[in-house]
Point group: D2
Chain length 340, copies 4
Amino acid sequence: MISFESDYNNGCHEAILKRLIETNNERATGYGLDDYCTAAKEKIRLICDKPEADVFFLVGGTQTNATVIDAMLHSYQGVLSVETGHINVHESGAIEFGGHKVLALPSHDGKMDANELNQWLQAFYDDIAYEHMVFPGMVYITFATEMGTIYTLDELRAISDVCKKYDLPLFVDGARLGYGLMAEGCDVSIQQLADLCDVFYLGGTKCGALCGEAVVFPHHNAPAHFFTIVKQHGALLAKGRLLGIQFDVLMQDHLYFNIARHAVEQAMRLRDAFIAKGYEMYSNSPTNQQFVLLDRETIARLEKDFVFEQWFPVGEKMNCRFVTSWATLPEDVDALIAAL
Amino acid sequence: MISFESDYNNGCHEAILKRLIETNNERATGYGLDDYCTAAKEKIRLICDKPEADVFFLVGGTQTNATVIDAMLHSYQGVLSVETGHINVHESGAIEFGGHKVLALPSHDGKMDANELNQWLQAFYDDIAYEHMVFPGMVYITFATEMGTIYTLDELRAISDVCKKYDLPLFVDGARLGYGLMAEGCDVSIQQLADLCDVFYLGGTKCGALCGEAVVFPHHNAPAHFFTIVKQHGALLAKGRLLGIQFDVLMQDHLYFNIARHAVEQAMRLRDAFIAKGYEMYSNSPTNQQFVLLDRETIARLEKDFVFEQWFPVGEKMNCRFVTSWATLPEDVDALIAAL
Amino acid sequence: MISFESDYNNGCHEAILKRLIETNNERATGYGLDDYCTAAKEKIRLICDKPEADVFFLVGGTQTNATVIDAMLHSYQGVLSVETGHINVHESGAIEFGGHKVLALPSHDGKMDANELNQWLQAFYDDIAYEHMVFPGMVYITFATEMGTIYTLDELRAISDVCKKYDLPLFVDGARLGYGLMAEGCDVSIQQLADLCDVFYLGGTKCGALCGEAVVFPHHNAPAHFFTIVKQHGALLAKGRLLGIQFDVLMQDHLYFNIARHAVEQAMRLRDAFIAKGYEMYSNSPTNQQFVLLDRETIARLEKDFVFEQWFPVGEKMNCRFVTSWATLPEDVDALIAAL
Amino acid sequence: MISFESDYNNGCHEAILKRLIETNNERATGYGLDDYCTAAKEKIRLICDKPEADVFFLVGGTQTNATVIDAMLHSYQGVLSVETGHINVHESGAIEFGGHKVLALPSHDGKMDANELNQWLQAFYDDIAYEHMVFPGMVYITFATEMGTIYTLDELRAISDVCKKYDLPLFVDGARLGYGLMAEGCDVSIQQLADLCDVFYLGGTKCGALCGEAVVFPHHNAPAHFFTIVKQHGALLAKGRLLGIQFDVLMQDHLYFNIARHAVEQAMRLRDAFIAKGYEMYSNSPTNQQFVLLDRETIARLEKDFVFEQWFPVGEKMNCRFVTSWATLPEDVDALIAAL
């Protein structure tokens, strides 16, 4: 069986594994105060061109979203997200567990529209009863989105401008940031992203690591005592070295970006083949997640040799997801293309 | 100035005031353990024809919604409500403060559609990732709704059937229950309502009392230690007698329903006049809240003598709310009709 | 039966009742935006000599404590209180419901010791692992305490000084503030109290009102959007007039303090009689709550004619509480003294 | 520098590392649904002699405590722990973040006394105001404790009996379970532990793994939808294989227990040397954590070559902690003994 099930069903990139082996017998202080974490943080600051950035390593995506959002919101505030945003759908209410409402805006292939955001905010403050409502306290977007799409630099700037206008921090969920920045046609650099938002993370779990997300507050703007907030959320890893080592490797020689580019290239080959053979794509994704509408017969046929997820029905067909990763072999893509 | 601003800007019905005066010098145990509360609870059980019902008195609506919902949900569950439901809009995130998501369904003039509810639940359990989502744990509806509308008995039964099918408790927010049950054309009795739901409340604040909501678990099905849960939510009144006395009076000789009927009658006079004079109603409300689209000139003219709320723009016009109550004088309605 | 059970088992002071009757037919905007609230707030500012103070009216004590504490703490902070503090014992976990730990210090007849507070704080910041602990975020004391005791001005200043040293807000729970300030030997004025703390409240429920607590941020230092926070906690009364009217009356012509003084005078008569007849007092209380150790026979005898609470056993005897209030009749105290 | 700083500053046991290398290129389903997790769970059931046990893998200790406790408590309940319990001191308020109070009992070298527990519970239900208090909902103990001590089988039974009497689940925090069960003189087996409690965990982080705690509900008594609760708490690892692989190795051929025994043996050598050389021990610990009182000179001398923590002053001396682990080399202990 060849798997296109997800980008988190392999172990880790071999360079990481190698480093884990090399360092295994060294002793290090716990809780992220070790030298590996220090080195990895420095590399991230360099890559982002933000020498003052505050960097923290957390374990997983839901945890990171819940911790960052809770840390940055006041109790009476909620977070603005598109309806299909991960925090609004697939985190089992982790945001609400922290006491905050997700204020949902329409999704455009997974993306937020700056004009709609602006209109929502204007309508909120125009409402005679807004003091009886949940205040907007933050804007949350994903890059790449859950639909595989990405924002252009102009779109990102427009959202950032609205956020500044209403004094709202902008949070970019980068669980798949590598695949987003290396996407076909992406015109956003990580430095620009860091400029335009107030906090984002470089997802490790889906981009080559065993686990780990690197949270970056680019403007030295981490909430006070964020370390303790992370601990309170159960998100502080005792052996922080495990995260430090992995990100130190990923940030070395652009490994993080190189392996993401590989995944995108394989996904583009797959997308082109789908289109060439007349399949209808559910969304136009330039990243490592491809969504295609398949009929029952095709699904039954492909399932014999390939693993992929069936998301939801669209008319008579099924919206199916094929995901590549840093670990996807070109010959596996060849095999799938041949089978189409 | 004549006010149609809300149904909670008077003091209380004179019969309540009279009783507060009579009983003022009597001493009573605190926290709802007094004889007034006992008597009021018994009257409510009789009116509902539910001799086994558990009854509790809380102070206000948001508090009651937050306490009941939090008490009945597991931590991983959310509450289903229409988008326009009070808990989803005008309670400053009190439900999320308790850790729960409001799962929003489409609103049809403030009402939930049983078929849409059923489809939502079916889709939820069909979703391959539902264990990563917020579980539905309760259905919340308002009677009368925020738009002034009411459910027919058939509609209520259909929703109750879906709830039973999916083993979900049904909670009826009755902040305006009196006005709902006494609405023009209402075919639901309080006994039927008590049969069909798992918990509801008789709103006092908007129906003649100074404050107070009577929560009824009709089937002796209050959550264990609900008293303590109420206290934990800051919703336990020390001088519970204040609530007991008021509901004892309201439940005497159908006062609660009689004064609600009066309010509805005045609202119907108003509605008929709006329609007769060619105004466009925003919704078809048979209760004490009337929503009508007015242009700027009309608003400016009426504002000189009348108080009412401008909710939101609809095209060039404004959706304006006129509310009657137990305290509305027929001559005030006459004056407004004359001014139209 | 003559009751010394509590200070919240009567109705309200007759002057309040009179005003409720007079104003009942007037219409007022909801949610505390009415003229009665405005007038009452202004009177409170005058009495405290704090023209800039922010004043809010909430319904009950637990609710007020939970709302104020949650509003002023960061998520990673707890509140320092003596072990016997109301928030640590008798609020069903309302503070923890808001996500905050109560950090307990030793109680000295219900009072906090400034030196112990200072030592606790010093030890906290000296701890190598303090970033893994709950940060102190506020100091909470009660005035009068649950044991009936009060702080001297020097004691209050000492606590305030420690708070300033560690940049911690000081919150004074004044559920029984009237009885505290009017206590025998009290050398603290309300103006001094307002100077020394960051937030306090004038308890209405136990001092003559039907319900209601007036929260005062003396230095125009209410948390941003406190109105919405109050709403989120279910603590915003729709008919805010009910609270405004009551405090407007209580603040008129020192009524609040006069009726508290009366209660204290009756309590002192009772205390003197206990002592004169050889009973052992559990604490030395100069306020309206008297704690005395009684044996079984005495309890059995007194219970025939008097209502009082048995708190907990002390050796062979029982610590019994006798409470006077604004409503206590001198002849009731005479009767109890005669029965001793 | 030779480190006795903690039992979590190495990488992982080499057998785990080997297996991670071997399996790195295999693909596995996420979220703990993979074959490694399945195999590891089966081994744990066998070792505990509980074929029906529910087993879950979480990432870290604070997270595990917060998730388990929140999942098993009702909202109005707190958890009983000794004052020195990890959840009461060093988890930054993670339990309170979930809405629950930690109800603290006296600590006896880190241990709870069954009689004191019984007395506390009796006093609680005897209290006239217990419905205004936080209900006890669970008993939490650590094994080994934070002071390095362990419970005898009789002590554990006595606590378990009290729990059964009051219908309270017993939760054993096993962050250092290996070191506890392999302690000198321990007469408790893992099967007996599983019999006597309702939930416990086998700590991986401090016993040889990179991360991971294996939560066991021995009587097939996991709370409904615990998977979703874990996700909601941000504690569900996407690459669950990382945890499954590690526990599969640790549970193979008693590795978990063998490496713990090694650590204890080294600790006993160290303890014997301390005592032989006349040092005063802070507690009598039969496990891998040794606490000894050292004066400034000794500390200064030892710090040149050894890493250890200074916990808190005891009189003129300092309570210092020396920790061995699965990774402690006998020659390192030799060196420290020589230096004493």
